[in-house]
Amino acid sequence: MSDRPLPTETPPEPAAEQGDRFAALYPSEEGIRAQVARRQRVATGWRVAFLAATSLAVVILSTLLLSIINQSFGLVAEQTDIPEAQLVADHYKSQVLGATNVLLATEDDADIAAGIAADANGIGLLGYAVYADNGAALQALSVDGVAPTAETVATGTYPLTRPLLLYSSAAILSDKPQVAAFLLYTLQHAEEVMSELGAFPADATALAEQAAALATTLGLDPAAPIDPAAYEGDIVISGSSTLNPVTREIARRFRGEGFQGAIKISSVGTVAGFEAFCAESADLVDASRPITTVETAACAANNLTPLSVQVGLDPVVVAVNSANTFAADVNGEQLAALFTTATNWSEVVAGWPADAIHRFLPTTDSGTMDVFVNTVFGGRTLADLPYDALVQIFKANVTAGRCRAIEAEQRFYADSFVCDTEEAFTARCQSDAAPTGCVLEPRDKGSLVALIQADVVNPVVQQAWFLAESLFRREEIMAEARQAYPTADVHFRRWLTLDFLTRPQSSQPELAGVRTAILGSLWVVAIGILVGFPVGVGAAIYLEEYADKRRRFNRFIQTNINNLAGVPSIIYGLLGLTVFVRVLEPITSGAVFGVGDATTANGRTILSAGLTLALLILPVIIISAQEAIKAVPSSLREASLGLGATKWQTIWNHVVPNAIGGIMTGVILAMSRIIGETAPLVVVGASTFITTDPTGPFSKFTTLPTQIFQWTSRPQQTFLLIAGAAIIVLLVLLFILNAFAIYLRNRYARRIG
């Protein structure tokens, strides 16, 4: 034991000259300064390089985001076969006209006035001019506390106010100077005439401006009054009965000043007036509402481009008999009841007499009816209509063949056919054999609305403009669109709307939504995480805490897991296709459990996709969980074991809680990855076109990225726009899921800390 030498000597002094020798190898004092400065310059260079890299990344990311946003909003020129609003309005018009005790439906306001004046229980709708003529026998109800007066009409507070317009076209005005002269004369004399008649002229300045603009277009002197004696030829005027008295009075004066031609004025209602005009049998239209896109389209067929001037305003008066003592003010709901559902007055307001309401109405064709329906039932959509009405709208607007085909696909009513005969129904759906081509559940309202949207309304975006151009070139685009698509409705459209989120996929981009895809994504990600998380964390715990790393087999497994993390995702898709879709088909199609159906019998289900994604994220979760577990200090394990804890107690109470932050980070990364996965899902069989929501793990499915991929590969521009909107949805979904996971992680971390 004494063979160890004991330290007895003191260490030798360091040689002094050696220190000098090394010091001489460094730069001199000046050289040091230069050398440090040089190193600092290099450091600065690197700093600039890193800053540039960061800036580049920021610029690229912002550009990406901006371009997506740019795509998702903007002006569109949208063409519809029949606007949804018109279908809705037509429905309510028929409701109003189909109400009980409609004693009169006429185009002549005077008849309506006379009818109400003679009936103590009468109520009706008429233009203000006629109402004013019959002031003593009638009284006007105020709506929402506002009575129709000059002031409330001018300020627009009386809700049932409409514009009074005159329509013509540039071609007519240049072909027939007498028509142009009459129109200009009308503008010049509207204020005077309408005031005399007790009607409401448009603002004097507006009238003058319109007159000046029109005169300039026609090549006349805006300041000079029209001399009717200088014109000859016929003038045909057709349209609204409301504007009729004004036009008649102006025509009387026009003739009085020496006009030689004939003026033919017919009071047929605005709708009929436009029909005549577009059929080229009228030169001017008296209109009590603006022209609709459908009417514009009809005119366009005859190469007529409508042109309008506004001469006045007209309140639609809700008139009752002057003997009516109870009704004075009504709100929108009561108005709706008064003209549709209620039979007796008492049904509208408790306390009103239980006498029948006698209704005196204008016809479907009148502008008065349009204004009434648009005001009282405005803002309602197809979804607000009853199911039966929707069925009738559908049937009335598609071909019989289409209707039968749709009904064969899925019926409207459980017990009968609408578009086909009773025999056909019996033959197809009540035979003893299993019903083929006859899904037993009738349609629901949502699908019927979607059907009408697609088949009847059929909106087609003719052209769309990006957000930036829409903002900066709005006027030009408007003009361009009016030129190119005269019948289309040009408006600002957000592609990312609530409807977009809640509608299923559709072959029409205007009607397509991402609901099916969002649900599919959530299902698939949920299954992926629910399977991948426990398996991955379990494997990580085994590999870190139990497996003996000295054994070659365990090292082999570890190496493989590390390599799998870098395998392209499509390989996992192939694996999923082989294993889950093909081999395990009885399980993944749900056949073993007696669920699922013929459409999922091939195993291309949410379950297969979820399991494939679980495989895909397994290496990521295992590796990150392993790192997190490794990072738990071994002193904690020793402390726990030293107290007599078992290995499992140590892992469960100390290792996992301390590693959970890192583990969750891995899960978040994994989730972010699979929510954007497309390739493996396409291989496993995500449907690119599917309109039914997934109902469970054995459903067919599609996911957001698959949907986006499919849309971007379509040739139509509009699909690209909704793909942009879907990308935003995907990003937001990702943020939401990540935020939730981070919240969970932080909550856990706090509890442990």
Binding site: M1, S2, D3, R4, L6, P7, D548, K549, R550, P633, S634, S635, L636, R637, E638, A639, S640, L641, G642, L643, G644, A645, T646, Q649, N653, H654, N658, I752, G753
Partner: protein, 267 residues
């Protein structure tokens, strides 16, 4: 050295190592240790770095099992049973042989939970009040109660190093072990904290048998009843050089090497 020569006290023994050899892979870290420890005494294990004293200490609660490449030969008798027998569960051993580590390692839980957790997993049957009492008494016994009584539900990591180490001692004694192994418990602490730990160890002797590894000669001299001196042999394996009453080892060591070590001539 293969006989039970080092048997300074006689009397009842808490634990006993016979022909203990510990290997790390093929390297023998500790060779032929024969030692037995008297109950309710403090025994200091001293020696230069790398002589295997910590390895020997950790052999008494099978902590070395945690190192996959380690292998233990020989016998450690505890209540007449070799704790390295195949039918012995190391958890059974650790349940009865507590340990305090070199670096304070409280759980990242509340102070209360640090003490209560060991009791809870070991089947403590008391109700909430009993548990509160156990926690308080353990913290009092570990001389840290006054420091923490107002913040029992704050994290154990919020304490200073010395307080943390006393919390770890409280945690160890809360499960009422028979033996407490201390692996340089004061080496990471300042002198004041060290002193308090030493006083605490003296108090604990009444109820527990304590084995303490230390690098600090004064600490061994001040705080222990017996001292075992280890050294590293030429094959780098640690072995027991001398074992005796602390007074005797420090004042008249039998081995020249012991004398050189305690007088600071090597190590």
């Amino acid at each position: 050295m293969t006989t039970l020569a080092h048997d300074p006290s006689g009397g009842p023994f808490a634990i006993e190592a016979q022909a203990l050899n510990i290997y790390y892979g093929s390297f023998r870290a500790v060779k032929d240790i024969n030692l037995r420890f008297s109950t309710h005494k403090i025994t200091a294990l001293i020696g230069p770095s790398g002589c295997g004293k910590s390895t020997v200490l950790r052999a008494f609660n099978r902590m070395n099992d945690l190192i996959p490449i380690s292998r233990t030969e020989g016998t450690v008798l505890f209540h007449g049973k070799n704790i390295y027998d195949a039918d012995v569960d190391p958890v059974q051993v650790r349940r009865r042989v507590g340990m305090v580590f070199q670096k304070p390692n409280p759980f990242p839980k509340t102070i209360y939970e640090n003490v209560a957790w060991g009791a809870r997993i070991n089947g403590f049957k008391g109700n909430k009040a009993d548990m509160d009492a156990l926690v308080e008494e353990s913290l009092r016994d570990a001389a840290v109660w006054d420091d923490v009584k107002d913040k029992l539900f704050q994290s154990g990591l919020s304490l200073s190093g010395g307080q943390q180490q006393r919390l770890c001692i409280a945690r160890a004694i809360a499960t009422r072990p028979e033996l407490i192994l201390m692996d340089e418990p004061a080496s990471a602490l300042d002198p004041i904290s060290t002193l308090r730990i030493e006083e605490l160890i003296q108090d604990l002797k009444k109820n527990y048998t304590i084995l303490i590894v230390t690098h600090n000669m004064q600490q061994a001299a001040r705080a222990s009843d017996y001292t075992a001196f280890f050294n590293m042999d030429t094959d780098r394996a640690g072995y027991l050089v001398e074992y005796g009453q602390t007074d005797q080892v420090f004042t008249s060591p039998k081995s020249e090497m012991t004398e050189q070590y305690i007088t600071g001539r090597f190590g």
